[in-house]
């Protein structure tokens, strides 16, 4: 459990005031919401860069009380904005060390921290380069590294992957997962991407035009049509953790964590023994009440029990417990008629069937 963050702020957003109040002590808290709702402003207010009123506390530190705000330099945060904001007059190494004074003051060995961060983010070869020559993904990694090297007590990540294409996004997500595993620093992570939020967050806050709309576990919230009416539930993806056990140029097999169920996916280039998440879209999952055996072209047929059925705008989302693997649910999106005809309800045994091509692997 991380230090609790208590937020009860009123953000001034041009023509209106957005009240935002929630408490979290999750290692990674996701902030999700439509564009322009004020997610970035919230991060800037947490950083002390945007005037706000209300109260804001982190652990036992008071960052904002009424109109009185603690200056940004005393909050010890690491801010990673969408466009990286690298200092153009400094090279990569100097950018990474821009917050060295604070890191030293907070008891870090800056050289050790720098080498740990450059190894983790694989930016060692970039150290002597000018920031002008970096690609988008490299800029993001340097920005992440600069925040980490400043010895922060809280990381604020603003849609760090929004400006990148999907291959680069997966890479950044991989680095974020590493940071999450390697550093004991809580993070607030603003994202539009449900897959990233599920992969990274323990707690999710959904922001709407009137403030906090919902807060809870990302997997539950992202599947809830009442919380996200703008998002079709057919886009919902289940994310299951596992380890790659076989990889060649035709296919890749992943054994799910906490069980012996295996999933076949298309070749991914992820090496054997590597940990990965497999993303399976709910609309690509077929349910059968009997084992179709060898008459099926689909590569994956997992034994499961229906745990819960939730209505969506266009049908039902069926949440399944896998029999051969514990842990996160797998969800299937079915029409209302299909649920009725198969007589599905909690406790019913089914086969969850999906093609190898319906799966996307996300390295961890």
């Amino acid at each position: 459990m991380a230090d609790p963050l208590h937020i009860d702020l009123r953000l001034a957003l041009g023509d209106h005031i957005l009240p935002v109040s929630f408490d979290t002590s999750a290692k990674v808290t996701g902030i999700y919401g439509p564009s322009g709702v004020g997610k970035s402003s919230l991060l800037r207010a947490i950083a002390g860069l945007q005037p706000a009123s209300g109260s804001l506390r982190f652990g036992d530190q008071v960052w904002q009380d009424g109109q009185t705000a603690l200056a940004p330099e005393h909050r010890h945060i690491g801010w990673v904005p969408q466009d990286a904001l690298l200092f153009p007059h400094l090279d990569v190494r100097a950018n990474l060390l821009a917050g060295r004074a604070r890191a030293t003051a907070r008891g870090h060995d800056v050289q050790a921290l720098l080498s740990r961060v450059t190894d983790l983010l694989e930016i060692g070869p970039l150290l002597n380069r000018s920031t002008a020559d970096l690609s988008g993904g490299e800029r993001q990694r340097v920005a992440l590294g600069r925040a980490l090297c400043s010895g922060p007590q809280l990381l604020l990540l603003d849609e760090a992957t929004a400006a990148l294409d999907s291959a680069l996004k997966r890479r950044i997500l991989q680095f974020l997962l590493r940071i999450r595993a390697e550093f004991d620093i809580p993070m607030i992570w603003v994202s539009h991407n449900p897959r990233e939020l599920q992969a990274l967050c323990d707690d999710l806050v959904v922001l709407g035009a009137k403030g906090v709309q919902a807060q809870g576990h990302p997997r539950i919230l992202l599947a809830d049509p009442n919380v996200l009416p703008d998002r079709s539930a057919t886009d919902f993806e289940s994310l299951l953790p596992g380890v790659v056990v076989h990889s060649d140029h035709q296919r890749c097999r992943l054994r799910l964590s906490k069980g012996d169920a295996e999933i076949t996916v298309l070749p991914s280039g992820i090496p054997v023994h590597a940990e990965a998440l497999v993303a399976i879209r709910a609309r690509d999952v077929i349910l059968a009440t009997q084992d179709p055996g060898g008459v099926l072209s689909a590569r994956n047929s997992l034994r499961a029990v229906v745990a819960q059925i939730t209505p969506t705008a266009t049908g039902n989302l069926v949440h399944l417990d896998l029999i051969d693997a514990q842990g996160p649910h797998l969800a299937a999106h079915l029409s209302v008629q299909a649920v009725e005809e198969l007589d599905l309800g909690p406790g019913v045994s089914v086969r969850a069937i999906f093609k190898a091509s319906a799966c996307a692997l996300v390295p961890r």
Partner: protein
């Protein structure tokens, strides 16, 4: 002398330019207008205004007299005149330079644990440095060429209050053509170097931006 004037004028000008570029406050437009006045008034008018302000009859003049600081008809007067005349140009150029610095970069530096002043030194001034050097060069050329206000305030005393401009005027009036030509050559040299450097700086700035 022009160098000293430039040096003395840079610091207050840079502060004023930063304030004008970064802050919105009541009276900002009035301050901005006042600062630009020496640019549009005839230099002799500015000189006369300063003369009246500093004359022995005025409170400022009496104070200076009490402190035994002589400004009128001394090199100090020439420096003061050059400063006042150069200031608007310096403030305007420096202000543009500060406006070109992304405030979000300054915000980023604050989050890395730096105070407002540390950020000014670490981010704002380095990023505005080209424009600030440009401002100093323009201020210097303006100070070198100052005539009207200097003559009014400090006179035209060779080796003491004479600027390049007043020296050329003297040489030409006295019919010393050779000296006038040398001084003209020197002005050309200073002018060409200053404008060329200033243009190069703004070109590289554009290439970077």
């Amino acid at each position: 002398m022009a160098g000293l004037a430039t040096f003395l004028v840079m610091i207050p000008s840079a502060i004023l330019a930063y304030v004008l570029a970064r802050h919105r406050f009541p009276g900002r437009r009035i301050l901005s207008t006042m600062l630009s006045l020496p640019l549009v008034l005839p230099p002799t008018a500015v000189g006369y205004l300063l003369l009246q302000l500093l004359s022995i009859d005025s409170p400022v003049g009496q104070l200076l007299n009490a402190l035994h600081v002589r400004i009128l008809l001394t090199w100090r007067g020439a420096v003061l005149a050059a400063m006042v005349i150069a200031m608007p140009l310096v403030v305007r150029t420096a202000s543009v330079a500060f406006q070109g610095v992304d405030p979000r970069l300054e915000a980023m530096d604050r989050t890395l644990g730096h105070t407002r002043f540390q950020t000014l030194r670490r981010v704002t001034i380095p990023l505005a440095s080209r424009g600030l050097i440009s401002a100093a060069i323009l201020g210097f050329t303006r100070a070198v060429g100052e005539f009207g206000a200097t003559v009014t305030l400090a006179g035209n005393i060779p080796g003491q209050t004479q600027t390049l401009a007043s020296a050329i005027f003297s040489a030409q009036s006295a019919g010393q053509d050779t000296e006038a030509w040398v001084l003209l050559g020197f002005s050309l040299l200073v002018g060409i170097v200053a404008v060329y450097t200033s243009e190069r700086l703004s070109d590289t700035e554009r290439a970077h931006g």
